[in-house]
């Protein structure tokens, strides 16, 4: 019986898929890859942005307080008020300024500011891509 029906189904004509279907599949996969990459960038961007948004003003405040506590302002006010003295003793003044500079506070502030600017720049460079992803991602749920 099986051979009989196997012979029958040997006559069943198959449908030929459209000519460009393979290329379309590859294209869709490429788009999917791009979407995944964008999602990763968006996630990293969001984390970095939030962290830098919190840390930048905090580190700035800390830096300013450290500047006040370090006495650097005294050296600068002396330099402006008694320029002759400053010029005569500029090496000692410079060394004193450098020694009292709150380096850690400065580095933290500069670093967090750099991260903040970097994430902003990232957003503007990939703005179109990210916005397209945010809006098309919603739309994709409605498609097969």
């Amino acid at each position: 019986m099986l051979n009989n029906y196997e012979k029958l189904f040997g006559h069943l004509n198959s449908q030929e898929p459209p000519v460009n279907i393979f290329d379309r599949i590859i294209l869709l996969i490429q788009q999917e890859k791009e979407r995944k990459r964008t999602k990763k960038i968006l996630f990293i961007f969001s984390i970095l942005f939030v962290i830098s948004l919190i840390i930048t003003p905090l580190s700035f405040n800390i830096f300013i307080n450290q500047i006040k506590d370090s006495g650097i302002t005294y050296f600068f006010s002396t330099a402006f008020n008694d320029l002759d003295v400053f010029i005569a003793l500029w090496q000692d003044f410079s060394l004193a300024i450098l020694e009292s500079l709150p380096l850690m506070g400065l580095l933290t502030f500069v670093f967090s500011l750099a991260v903040f600017l970097f994430t902003f720049r990232l957003f503007f460079r990939r703005k179109k891509l990210l916005i397209d992803y945010l809006f098309s991602h919603q739309h994709l749920h409605n498609i097969i």
Binding site: M1, L8, P17, P18, I25
Partner: protein, 195 residues
């Protein structure tokens, strides 16, 4: 040199993009034909086929390589086809092309064919008809989706009953019963057309 599905998957996961393309080319036509029977529309069959292979790409890393890739692929094809059909019905689309028998219950049992015995072989005169291909295509369209699936997966795609049961998420005995009933119905239709 022909690589097995498993080898192609291993190579792809190691970074060889061409291996995945070979896999797609290998199963593009069988999958297209499989989903075509759900929708009977070339454009919709194309859309579904595309979605099937995108899903395969998406989930390939999670695929258990000890299992049969072909079976897994056809399971995805079945699920995507059913999702498409349900969405189309939900959005008020007409799905005239997909026939679910009015006499079938959820298990795929047709009360009209419950008492039909083993179909027996087809008369040779039917097989020798010059237009048997067309007649068969017409007759197959009259089958319900469940029966069509079993018949096509068994005779056209050469799956075993066990594999068909996995693909269709149905018990093995149900698949065998559906196979027998489908052949009975087909035989009746072909004999009726012949006479």
């Amino acid at each position: 040199m022909d690589f097995s599905d498993q080898q192609l998957i291993v190579d792809y996961l190691k970074g060889d993009e061409e291996s995945f393309k070979i896999l797609i080319k290998r199963y593009l036509k069988p999958i297209y034909n499989f989903v075509y029977q759900y929708v009977n529309d070339p454009q919709e069959a194309q859309d579904i086929t595309q979605e099937v292979f995108v899903r395969v790409w998406r989930y390939l890393k999670k695929f258990n390589q000890k299992k049969n890739f072909k079976t897994w692929l056809f399971q995805i094809a079945k699920n995507v086809s059913i999702d498409f059909y349900r969405k189309a019905r939900f959005h008020g689309g007409e799905r005239k092309n997909i026939s679910f028998s009015d006499f079938e219950n959820e298990k795929g049992e047709n009360i009209l064919t419950e008492t039909i015995p083993d179909p027996g072989p087809l008369p040779d005169e039917i097989l020798e008809r010059s237009d048997i291909g067309q007649q068969l295509a017409k007759a197959t369209k009259k089958l319900s989706l469940n029966y069509k699936n079993v018949i096509c997966l068994y005779y056209y795609h050469h799956f075993t009953f066990q594999e068909i049961a996995e693909i269709l998420s149905a018990p093995l005995n149900t698949v065998k019963s559906q196979h027998r009933r489908a052949l009975s119905i087909l035989k009746k239709i072909l004999e009726k057309d012949f006479n």
